[in-house]
Amino acid sequence: MSNIHVSATVNGDAVEFLCEPDESLLDSLRDRLALTGSKEGCGTGDCGACSVVLDGRLVCSCLVLGAEADGRTIETIEGVADGDDLHPLQQKFLDHAALQCGICTPGFLVAAKALLERNPDPDETEIRYWLAGNLCRCTGYDKIVRAVMDAAEEMRQ
């Protein structure tokens, strides 16, 4: 089996890589492009640690093939901050201690950003159901939900 050539836009940069036909986008991002901020927690789309935005849609990158990224636009955790300026969600996660080990944090931030872009004023229930695709085993979710609510409030102002 020969590798497949892929051209895509990742966090605003034009990139090219070769991937195996059955390789996940997550593996391509990590192993080909050295973007290791997206994590593999399960490889079956259950934990959300690999969340990225593909052509504007929130997806688990472990469930997308690297080859499917050809000609498309991908946003990962590495593109959430603007240079040294943290996104309000990132700052609120720090302020609220909304991470303990931090392995799920990139996925939560990518997912929460996608939520706030769609709905700038979600209530607690909407946040909890939107983030139900992301597993966190450390925090019990309390401080994550509070951080998202606080970031949303700040972004609305």
Binding site: D22, Q90, C101, R128, L135, C136, R137, C138
Partner: protein
């Protein structure tokens, strides 16, 4: 913002505040490097072949075809691992660790490693696994405790006889050991009881559920020196175990702890690290090995499942007259379940005149269990706290008052021997009774439960060093991996001691060659033990700085004091000098004798036991058996909360893990002895929409053995939830729940009178 300690009157600048953690920015930007995030030049990818059988003799392993596959660089079997002279600092039997890492002679559980391959890519390694020919003779298996201890059970280890039995048994058994603790005369105690509760409880095995699978990168060099990068709670433990399993000299192996994506006890032993290292030794290339999630479920270390018979008697005044528990824990395919800890935790919350606990360590065809947050305590507390709830109902006393009447306090002789120093159980119960939650109304189909819980908290071998930089900042180095924000608390304690701003202190976790031995991050020991070592190292550095100031001023060393980050002359003959700041002293270090540092290596003792009380409100759907936790409160004695946000985080995280275990999580084995739910879809951990906000109250009864009063907080929060939720559901349904998890089918059965 200064915080005043209302018990000792000490005023703190940094301890008790909520600064941003030093590793925070890396973790919110995706830059933090976890176990699977490191790549090395020339690196290979490894995969492990695992037994599909619960119990089978391995007749042969033929690797010829796999080795011949293009791109395969090394194939490993048990023959490549041989126990050397090492691992003496570890509690585990290294023969068992060796056999667990790679099956020898018999596969003992579904998922037991049989062989491994390193290849140019993960996909080649996976293809090669399919080419390894293993000939099995399938044997009868047993995965259930009650079946494993039955007289006709298949015997897993033909040479295992139950230890500590009188007389010694004549036949091999799946029961590895019996243990017993207690004091007084329980029969006399039961004679005095007006009410007796007696029942069998069962809990299924749960998994720690850390989101990061085990991952490592091993590099064995041609000169016999090697390095491992891995996610672990204890890199010194990894070094000891790997050196032992490969027959290496300890000093030739350097282990670096990556950022760790959760552990909860599950990363306190080795599974894949010795395999990756042995593969690297075989082919001379760096080897990366990462578990898939189904491997994590099948072949890491879940909790024991348990069977617990409990009998408790009380008089009508609400005094417990006797407590007895007999516990069976299965620890998987090898001896060494946490039965002792379970038995010891059973009655730890109570001051009992007559108490006894008997424990049985059972082996079954399941993966070797590992620690999971307060190992043993949740199961024991489920049985005992359920019993107390039932007794309180029958006596007609409020369940918190009943606990207060019998609660352990300073001077209580614990069932496992020691006399408690000052502890805070009663304070948590009083806070629970006064809480808004406890005094709120319940809705229809809702029940409220209360339970208390205990954890010992560990000390142990600990090292830390602190260096004062020329620019007036400090770097703390510890040997305990930071699993939930401990670097922040180290910085706070160092800043407080040195008297410099929090932002001027950084903390790193050093590799095994850069710092003396440090025991694993486990048992809620890190903020206590590494915290003490950090404070002592800082005091050591302060001593050096005082002597440098004395040198500059030309006065005796003992005429210099340290206060608020400054050296000051003190005493009648010290002379009149302006206080000199840490930054000023640091700047002149090279003129006054060289770099300034402090260090501490010691055996941390004086642990402060931890107690907590939880309140749970559960609502059932009587048609489906679905349970929703509608309100939940955790109240726990932290001793001292160095960083209250991360203390609350431990309370909340432990409670939600407990909610998952209580309601849904369980290892399900089929008739074939294979795990049926080795994935997050079917092993259902709580998601964000399953749980409410978790209310917390931090009680602070300082541990007098720690410079800031720290007790350690991580484990205790998972001890009460099974009992609290079991009691809530029992009230909502009107029947006593006795099996964990209380999943919808079990709740429905109880609702329907089953």
């Amino acid at each position: 913002m200064n915080k005043i300690d209302d018990i000792s009157g000490t005023e703190y600048k940094y301890v008790g505040t909520r600064p941003v953690r030093p590793d925070g920015v890396d973790k919110v930007t995706g830059k933090a490097q976890f176990g699977a995030d490191l790549y090395a030049p020339g690196m290979l990818f490894a995969k492990i072949l695992r037994s599909p059988h619960a119990h089978a003799r391995i007749l042969s392993v033929n690797t010829d075809k796999a080795e011949a596959l293009d791109g395969v660089k090394a194939v490993l079997t048990y023959a490549d691992l041989e126990l050397g002279d090492g691992g003496h600092d570890l509690e585990d039997d290294m023969n068992h660790v060796l056999e667990n890492v790679m099956a020898r002679g018999k596969a003992l559980y579904d998922g037991h490693a049989v062989a491994a391959v390193a290849a140019n890519s993960a996909s080649i390694a996976k293809r090669a696994l399919k080419l390894i020919d293993v000939e099995y003779e399938v044997l009868p298996h047993v995965t259930d405790i009650e079946k494993a201890i039955a007289p006709d059970a298949p015997i897993i280890h033909e040479d295992m006889y139950t230890q500590d039995m009188d007389p010694k048994p004549e036949k091999p058994s799946n029961v590895a050991r019996r243990m017993e603790i207690g004091h007084g005369d329980i029969e006399a105690g039961f004679e005095k009881a007006d009410f007796i509760f007696e029942r069998r409880f069962r809990t299924e095995a749960a998994h720690q559920g850390y989101i990061e699978p085990h991952a490592c990168l091993a590099n064995y060099r041609s000169d016999g020196h090697a390095e491992i990068w891995c996610c672990t709670q204890g890199h010194f433990m990894v070094r000891s175990a790997c050196a032992a399993l490969l027959g290496m000299d300890l000093s030739k192996l350097r282990v670096t702890a990556s950022e760790i994506g959760g552990g909860f006890g599950g990363k306190t032993t080795v599974f894949i690290e010795p395999v990756a290292l042995a593969l690297s030794r075989k082919c001379g290339r760096p080897v990366k090995l990462v578990m898939d999630r189904d491997e994590v479920f099948r072949a890491s270390g879940p909790t024991p499942s348990s069977v617990i018979d409990v009998k408790i008697g009380a008089n009508k005044e609400g005094v417990i007259t006797a407590g007895f528990a007999e516990l069976w824990f299965q620890g998987g395919a090898f001896p060494g379940s946490v039965i002792d800890l379970g038995a010891m935790c059973s009655f730890a919350c109570y001051n009992l005149e007559n108490v006894k606990a008997i424990g049985w360590d059972v082996v079954v065809n399941r993966p070797k269990s590992a620690a999971y947050r307060a190992p043993g305590a949740p199961m024991a507390a489920f049985a005992v706290e359920s019993a107390l709830d039932d007794l309180a109902d029958r006596i007609g006393i409020d369940p918190i008052d009943f606990r207060l009447k019998n609660a352990a306090e300073e001077g209580t002789i614990a069932s496992f021997g020691p006399k408690f120093r000052r502890i805070g159980l009663k304070e948590t119960l009083e806070a629970a009774k006064a809480s808004d939650h406890y005094n709120s109304q319940l809705g229809p189909n809702q029940g409220r439960g209360v339970a208390s819980g205990f954890w010992f908290n560990f000390g142990g071998t600990t090292s830390a060093s602190i260096k004062i930089e020329l620019d007036g900042t400090a770097v703390v180095t510890v040997g305990t991996p930071d699993i939930g924000g401990s670097r922040a608390s180290m910085c706070q304690m160092a800043a407080e001691t040195l008297g410099i701003p929090y932002e001027d202190v950084r903390c790193i976790v050093a590799d095994t060659s850069s710092l003396p031995y440090s025991a694993t991050t486990e048992g809620s020991r890190t903020t206590h033990s590494s915290g003490m070592a950090t404070v002592y190292a800082a005091q050591n550095a302060i001593g050096v700085m005082c002597s440098r100031a004395a040198m500059i001023w030309g006065i005796p060393e003992d005429a210099v004091d340290w206060k608020d980050g400054h050296a000051r002359p003190s005493g009648a003959n010290a002379g009149d000098f302006e206080p000199m700041s840490l930054a000023e002293i640091a700047k002149k270090a090279h003129e006054t004798g060289g770099p300034i540092a402090g260090h501490c290596e010691f055996e941390a003792g004086k642990v402060g036991q931890s107690f907590g009380t939880h309140i749970a409100d559960a609502e059932i759907d009587p048609e489906t058996g679905f349970t929703k936790i509608v309100r939940y409160t955790v109240i726990q004695d932290a001793g001292r909360a160095i960083h209250p946000s991360y203390v609350e985080g431990q309370y909340q995280g432990g409670a939600v893990q407990g909610i998952g275990w209580a309601l849904n999580e369980e290892y399900i084995y089929g008739e074939d002895g294979r795990l049926q739910n080795a994935g997050f879809l079917d092993y259902r951990m709580p998601v964000c929409s399953d749980v409410p906000m978790i209310e917390t109250e931090i009680v602070e009864v300082p541990n007098t053995g720690h410079p800031f009063g720290v007790r350690g907080v991580g484990e205790t929060p998972i001890a009460p939830p099974l009992g609290a939720i079991g009691n809530a559901l029992s009230h909502a349904i009107g029947r006593r729940m006795d099996t964990i998890p209380m999943s919808p089918p079990r709740v429905l059965e109880a609702v329907n009178g089953g």
